[in-house]
Amino acid sequence: MTFQFESLQQMWDMAGHGPYVWTAILVSLFVMGWLLVRPLQQHSAILKTISQQLRQREQCQKEHQSANTSEEDK
């Protein structure tokens, strides 16, 4: 197995086919990367939303309870 080009510059040029090959590779890798990053972002966003909703609900319940107890005091 040998390196097919004499330099990295030549590999970039690919004897004139460089623009085609590298456009294809870079666009594909970008799309593939995006396919992995997007669910990771959504994953943490959903967990955050759920925990926020839980906290809000707990706070509501507490306020409700304290309102009830203060009414009972009267």
Partner: protein, 257 residues
């Protein structure tokens, strides 16, 4: 009783929680496997494989074009089968897998079409021809997008699931047409390089890196499908106790900014 016990594995596999927890343990390994295989295969193919006698260096696009096309087709079968399992056994997890397969399949079909177009310019002298292979591949992209769109077209999740599954199943007609299009109709597209029934029409020095990228693409597909399905599970099971517990744990691990 015995038959009930035999089906336990099936029910456990249908449990979103079981899927979420099991795949969570696989994920680190799958990340390492995918990234190392993709890097190995691409560096090998782009820098070390000999150039093609007729096409020169432009043929190196094959190292993403063929693996992406493979998975775009295989992923469609997976999506349709997941839809069918959902319709027949009313398995929730199966519908989640079906929905997750749609954006991944659409993206891979796009990659196949895009790399094909960029490869076509130096080889055929044109980016696009309306021949059978390319047109049926474009239809595949629309089928994927259709399955995804139907998920959001109904108020009830149940109706969306059924509609998506039926479209996915009807669309499978397209897959053998794509496979056979280069044999049935006159086309600029070359015929299949790799067939299960015969030796590859390619020199081993070119073929070996291609094989690595194909395996890499399967690994990538598995990783992406698991990641999307896990998001879908959290979204649809957000009222379940274990998901709430998970959200609380995530909050304590990551202090509020």
């Amino acid at each position: 009783m015995a038959s009930a016990r035999n089906w336990n594995w099936f029910h456990r596999m249908g449990s979103p929680r079981w899927f979420y927890e099991t795949t969570g343990r696989w994920l680190p390994w799958l990340w390492v496997l995918t990234i190392s295989l993709v890097l190995t295969g691409l560096v090998w193919g782009l820098a070390f494989a000999p150039q093609d006698a007729k096409q020169g260096n432009s043929f190196r696009i094959i190292y993403l074009h063929v693996p992406a096309s493979f998975l775009a087709l295989a992923g469609y079968y997976l999506m349709a089968i997941a839809g069918a399992i959902g319709l027949i056994w009313k398995m929730k997890l199966s519908y989640m897998v079906m929905k997750s397969a749609a954006p991944i399949g659409a993206a891979l079909t796009f990659i196949a079409l895009f790399t094909g177009a960029v490869w076509g310019k130096p080889t055929w002298g044109t980016y696009w021809v309306w021949d059978a292979r390319i047109t049926s591949m474009l239809i595949l992209l629309f089928l994927y997008l259709g399955v995804l769109a139907l998920q959001y077209a109904f108020h009830s999740q149940e109706a969306g699931n059924k509609a998506s599954a039926i479209l996915a199943l009807v669309g499978t007609v397209n897959i053998p047409i794509i496979y056979k299009s280069v044999d049935w109709w006159y086309t600029l597209h070359q015929s299949a390089t790799i067939k299960l029934t015969s030796a590859p029409s390619m020199h081993p020095d070119m073929f070996q890196p291609l094989l690595v990228v194909i395996v890499a693409m399967y690994s990538f597909y598995g990783l992406a499908l698991i990641l999307y399905t896990r998001v879908e599970i959290l979204q649809r099971e957000r009222k379940a106790g274990w998901v709430r517990e998970l959200a609380r744990q995530a909050e304590t691990q990551e202090p509020a900014k």
